[in-house]
Subunit: 162 residues, 3 copies
Amino acid sequence: MSIDERLADLGLQLPASPSMPAGVVATFSWVRTVGDRVLVSGHGAQDLDGSPMGPFGRVPDEVSPEQATGSARAAALSVLSSVKSAIGELDRITAWVAVAGYVQAQPGYARTTAVINAFSEVILDVFGNEVGQHARTAIGVAALPLNLPVVVAAELSLAPAH
Amino acid sequence: MSIDERLADLGLQLPASPSMPAGVVATFSWVRTVGDRVLVSGHGAQDLDGSPMGPFGRVPDEVSPEQATGSARAAALSVLSSVKSAIGELDRITAWVAVAGYVQAQPGYARTTAVINAFSEVILDVFGNEVGQHARTAIGVAALPLNLPVVVAAELSLAPAH
Amino acid sequence: MSIDERLADLGLQLPASPSMPAGVVATFSWVRTVGDRVLVSGHGAQDLDGSPMGPFGRVPDEVSPEQATGSARAAALSVLSSVKSAIGELDRITAWVAVAGYVQAQPGYARTTAVINAFSEVILDVFGNEVGQHARTAIGVAALPLNLPVVVAAELSLAPAH
């Protein structure tokens, strides 16, 4: 089964490429490919048209843990959309390597792991435990671009298995 | 001298694999190996049985800088334990590559460098200046998983020297 | 045109190697080269003599967004100085890979992207869109070493194009 078929099976639809609000300029690449390595910039939840998707704000006082979980899940689809644009077919991915999850968090909020788990679960569901497994950090930060509650960056590999 | 002998010489004992408190699920790999690269997830201080080790909280108002230094040193042993489980022998490491240190910090706490130095010192003591050297960031964040005061992620290399 | 000539053309002068204030010890490498990969530690703005350059503090209440932009631009020059020391000639760089930008930010400050854009713009101006492009994260954190408003880490590649 191809990754696209797997996504359809799971009822997951990828958003369009990230579209920034008026006045926000992105001087970086959403995905940078160097050799077999695929570096993915920090992505947040996006609506299907690619625009930033709420809720916005801090976890858990402005955005509930449940909402943050949804935002992390949506961020996974944003990442997949950008990676697909960059490499053509998601089936080319041979390994997820590392994931860096950032939660806009109230000081001392100790449950960032649970929030970023929602990102990882999408990746493992879609790619399976072999390809999808990844090292990870999940930290709580003071501020995120666009006031997003969750931003996730990642590295993937296209290297042939050997 | 093997790394295990070096650790014994320094009186350093590695904890068991990370064991999460009830209700905390880790959907990521503590170590992800891709080719010659070893990606290590964020680790905090662990007791010898692998459970999270206190003190917990924010530096310096809840956890003193001295305590945070101890936590960073313990995080180094947690990382070494997980890496050893993943690759079999720590002697296979040919280079430490990069270290990302996160301190749960009071806003404006300007001494995160000193805290994460304790992590780096363990690595340099055990692996020497050639293999052990690494690029590093040491930042203060609003929140960390399990309310840990210090979490450290890393990348290592198993590539043969050439 | 060489990168050094390009820097001169743009009127950009690289500072000396980072020099830490009394009492601050750096137990890491400012740049770590492993094979074709160049890992760059977090750098802030530096005066031409290599010492940390103000303003210091939090964005936007202690350091204005305009000042933070200047700090991000200066951090790019700090990074270039350290990389040049490590690899000899900046012309050896074949690809910027990834940039991690950290802004010491007031909780909820949603404009970290604009601050770190100033770093990326220097890189793109100096190296062009092909070599200079990079994946990026730009997050707001509670604290940074030396009370710097902006710290940026990066990865570059020396691999020959193929």
